[in-house]
C-alpha cells in the first residue's frame, strides 16, 4: 500500500561539520526550552507542557501511520488508556506519578500489540474502519458501570499536581514542565534511534511495498504488530503525562474528536517526520485556542478545511514545507559557493 508522499528520512551519514552544527543547535534549543521554565507564567508553562504531551502522542501515531502506513483513526483510545493508567495508579494505589509512565507504556504497548494482531488482516480502509470504531466506542467503555470503582465512571478522577522532588526551588508548574520536557526528549531520542536505522527502513519498506519487503527478508507481520505496540506505548505515555498535567480524567475527554485531532496533527505537521510531530502538536493545541474566540464550532471547521487543504496542496505538512523552503534557500546560495570553490 502506498502512503501520502512523505518527508524522506535522512539516511546518508552527515559530515562532521554538519553534525557538530546540528548538535549545537540542539543544545541551544534545549537550553532555551529549559530556560523558558523560569520566565514563562504558570499558564504559559501549562500550554507548553500540553504541546509537548501532544508531540509525544503524535510521534506515536506517526510511527504507525506515517512511517508504517497503518491508518489509525482511534489513537485517542490509547491516549485514554494511558491517562486512566496514570490516574488509577495514582488515585487508587497511590503510586508516584513518575512510576505510572512505564506502567502506562507497558499497558498500552500490550493493548496495541493485541490490536495489532487483528489489524494484520485489515488493510487500508478496513483498518481505518475498525480503529474508527475503537475511537468511537472508547468513551462509552470508560463509563462502564462495573468498572466504576476503578475509573470513577462518568465523573472521572481528580489528580494532585506533583511537587518538585529533592526540595528543588521550583513551583509545581515549572517542575511539571521540565519533567515533561525530559520525558519528551527521552521519547524523541528513542524514536530517532528506532527510525534512523534498520527498523525505520523496515517500517518504510512494509509501508511502501509489503511484498518486496517480504522478499528482502523483512518479517512483515512482526514489523506491523511491533509498530502498533510501540505507537500505542508512545501515545499511552503521552496520555499519562496529559492526565498528570490536566489533573483530571473523564470519559468525555477522550471522544472520537481526540482521535481526529491526532490525525489532524500528523497530517498538518508532516507524515513520517519527527519534527512534524512538534509542529502538529503546536497546531492542534493553539489553533483551537485562537479559533474558539470566533465560535465554538470554528476550531473544528478550521481543522476540517485544513485536513483537506493539507492533503491536496501540502501533503508533506509543515515539516515538509519547511524542508523544501530550506532546500530552496540552500540551492540559491550554492551556485555562488560552488563558483568560489572552482576559482581556487
Amino acid at each position: 500500500m502506498h502512503s501520502v508522499s512523505t518527508v524522506p528520512v535522512p539516511l546518508a551519514a552527515r559530515d562532521a561539520g554538519q553534525r557538530l552544527r546540528s548538535s549545537l543547535i540542539g543544545l541551544v534549543a534545549v537550553a532555551l526550552v529549559t530556560g523558558f521554565a523560569f520566565v514563562g507564567s504558570g499558564y504559559q508553562l501549562f500550554q507548553a507542557t500540553m504541546v509537548m504531551v501532544y508531540a509525544i502522542a503524535l510521534l506515536g501515531l506517526n510511527i504507525l501511520t506515517g512511517y508504517n502506513g497503518q491508518i489509525s483513526l482511534g489513537h485517542g483510545a490509547f491516549f485514554a488508556i494511558g491517562a486512566y493508567c496514570a490516574a488509577i495508579l495514582m488515585e487508587r494505589l497511590s503510586m508516584p506519578y513518575w512510576a505510572t509512565l512505564p506502567a502506562a507504556a507497558l499497558a498500552c504497548g500490550l493493548v496495541g500489540y493485541a490490536v495489532g494482531w487483528p489489524a494484520l488482516k485489515l488493510e487500508g480502509i478496513y483498518l481505518a474502519l475498525a480503529t474508527f470504531a475503537l475511537g468511537t466506542a472508547t468513551p462509552q467503555l470508560l463509563k462502564f458501570r462495573k468498572l466504576e470503582p476503578l475509573t470513577g465512571g462518568a465523573q472521572g478522577l481528580v489528580l494532585l499536581k506533583p511537587d518538585a522532588p529533592f526540595g528543588l526551588p521550583l513551583n509545581q508548574d515549572q517542575w511539571l514542565y521540565l519533567f515533561v520536557f525530559g520525558v519528551a526528549l527521552l521519547m524523541f531520542a528513542i524514536a530517532r534511534n528506532l527510525l534512523d536505522g534498520r527498523i525505520g527502513l523496515a517500517l518504510l519498506a512494509v509501508r511502501d511495498h509489503p511484498t518486496a519487503a517480504t522478499a528482502m527478508g523483512v518479517d512483515v507481520a512482526r514489523v506491523k504488530t511491533a509498530a502498533f505496540a510501540v505507537s500505542a506505548a508512545y501515545t499511552g505515555v503521552a496520555g499519562a503525562l496529559g492526565a498528570i498535567a490536566v489533573q483530571f480524567v473523564a470519559p468525555d475527554s477522550f471522544t472520537m474528536f481526540l482521535s481526529i485531532s491526532l490525525i489532524v496533527g500528523i497530517v498538518a505537521g508532516g507524515l513520517a517526520s519527527m519534527s512534524g510531530a512538534v509542529w502538529g502538536a503546536a497546531f492542534i493545541h493553539f489553533i483551537p485556542n485562537v479559533a474558539e474566540k470566533v465560535s465554538k464550532a470554528a476550531p473544528w471547521a478550521i481543522y476540517g478545511v485544513m485536513l483537506i487543504v493539507f492533503v491536496m496542496l501540502l501533503p508533506q505538512g509543515v515539516a515538509g514545507a519547511l524542508q523544501r523552503a530550506r532546500a530552496a534557500w540552500q540551492r540559491r546560495r550554492r551556485p555562488a559557493g560552488a563558483g568560489h570553490r572552482a576559482g581556487h
Binding site: 500500500m1 502506498h2 502512503s3 501520502v4 501511520t65 502506513g69 491508518i71 483513526l73 487483528p118 488482516k121 485489515l122 487500508g124 480502509i125 478496513y126 481505518a128 474502519l129 475498525a130 474508527f132 470504531a133 475503537l134 468511537t136 466506542a137 462509552q140 467503555l141 463509563k143 462502564f144 458501570r145 511484498t211 472520537m256 481526529i260 490525525i263 497530517v267 507524515l271 465560535s295 465554538k296 464550532a297 470554528a298 476550531p299 473544528w300 471547521a301 481543522y303 476540517g304 478545511v305 485544513m306 485536513l307 483537506i308 492533503v311 491536496m312 501533503p315
Partner: protein, 289 residues
C-alpha cells in the same frame, strides 16, 4: 419474554435506520471503493435543514422532500469538488479527506443551528399503542419507509437505464466509458443518491435520538457494523446487517447494559472482518498482486 420481544421489534425499527445508512455506505463503496466516514454527518446536516424548514412552518413532507433533494445536491457536489481530484490518491489521503468532511459538516451544523438538543417530529404521529403496546407508530413507519426505499432502489438499479449505467460504472469504469457512459456524471449520481438516502435515515432517526450535531456518530458506527456484517459489497446484506445490528444492540442493552452497546458494534466489526471479511452476503474479491 415480553421484554425480549419488545426489544426485538424496537431493534428492528432502529435497525431499519442503520440499514438505510449502511445502504448508503455500500452504494458509495461499490462505485468508488471508498468508505464515506462523513456519511452520518452529511445526513445530520440535511436533517437540520429539514428542521429549520419545519421551524418556518413548512409542512412535514415538503420539508422531507426538500431535505432529501438538498442531500442529493450536497452529495453530488462533494463528489465533484472533493472526491474526484482524489481518484488516484492513496487510501490514507482519501480517509483523511473524509474525516475532514466529517468535521466540517459537524462544525457547520453546530455553527448554524447551535449545539442544544432539539426535538424532531415524527411524520407518523406519537402513537404508542399498536399491537398491544408492542410497537410505536414511528417504529412501524420507519420499517415501512425502509422497505419502500429498498424496493425503489431495486427498481432503479434493475429496470432503469441510469441504474444499469451506474452498475456498469461500479463494475468497470474504463469499459463503461468506452461504450459511452459518462462515468463522472454517474459517480456524482451515485454519491447524490447515497447522500439523499442518508438524509432520509437522519430524518427517521432524529425523533428517536433527538437532533444534535453529534447524533449520527453512533448511528454511523452501527451502520458500519451492519454493512460489514452483511458484506460491504452487498446492498441486501447491508439491509439485513443493519436490521441485525439494531436487534443485537437492543438485546445487549437489555441483557448486559447500555454502556457496552458501542463496544459490541466494535467487537462485531473486528470479529466479522477477521472471521469472514466478505460478510454474510458479500463477494470475496480477489486481486492480482
Amino acid at each position: 419474554m415480553e421484554d425480549v420481544l419488545q426489544q426485538v421489534i424496537s431493534g428492528l425499527a432502529t435497525g431499519s435506520v442503520y440499514a438505510i445508512v449502511a445502504l448508503a455506505l455500500v452504494m458509495i463503496y461499490q462505485t468508488t471503493h471508498h468508505v464515506n466516514f462523513a456519511q452520518g454527518e452529511m445526513a445530520m446536516f440535511c436533517t437540520y435543514l429539514a428542521w429549520a424548514l419545519l421551524q418556518k412552518g413548512v409542512p412535514y413532507w415538503l420539508a422531507f422532500a426538500a431535505a432529501t433533494a438538498i442531500g442529493f445536491v450536497v452529495g453530488a457536489a462533494v463528489e465533484r469538488v472533493v472526491i474526484r481530484p482524489l481518484a488516484q490518491a492513496p487510501v490514507l489521503a482519501v480517509v483523511v479527506v473524509f474525516i475532514g468532511l466529517l468535521v466540517i459538516f459537524n462544525s457547520v451544523a453546530g455553527w448554524a443551528f447551535g449545539y442544544s438538543v432539539q426535538t424532531f417530529p415524527s411524520p407518523f404521529g406519537g402513537g404508542t399503542g399498536l399491537w398491544g403496546g408492542m410497537v410505536s407508530a414511528h417504529q412501524l413507519g420507519s420499517l415501512v419507509v425502509t422497505v419502500a426505499l429498498l424496493l425503489l432502489l431495486f427498481v432503479f438499479f434493475r429496470f432503469t437505464p441510469w441504474g444499469l449505467a451506474l452498475r456498469a460504472v461500479a463494475e468497470n469504469p474504463a469499459s463503461s466509458s468506452l461504450v459511452g457512459i459518462r462515468v463522472g456524471s454517474m459517480l456524482a449520481l451515485g454519491w447524490g443518491l447515497a447522500s439523499a438516502i442518508g438524509a432520509v435515515a437522519g430524518m427517521l432517526v432524529a425523533p428517536i435520538v433527538f437532533l444534535d450535531p453529534n447524533m449520527m456518530m453512533s448511528v454511523l458506527l452501527y451502520a458500519f457494523a451492519g454493512a460489514v456484517l452483511g458484506g460491504i459489497t452487498s446492498p441486501v446484506g447491508a439491509v439485513v446487517g443493519g436490521l441485525a445490528v439494531g436487534v443485537l444492540e437492543n438485546l445487549v442493552g437489555l441483557l448486559i447494559g447500555n454502556e457496552l452497546k458501542l463496544s459490541v458494534a466494535l467487537a462485531l466489526i473486528i470479529g466479522v472482518l477477521l472471521v469472514r471479511p466478505a460478510g454474510l452476503f458479500g463477494r470475496v474479491s480477489v486481486s492480482r498482486v
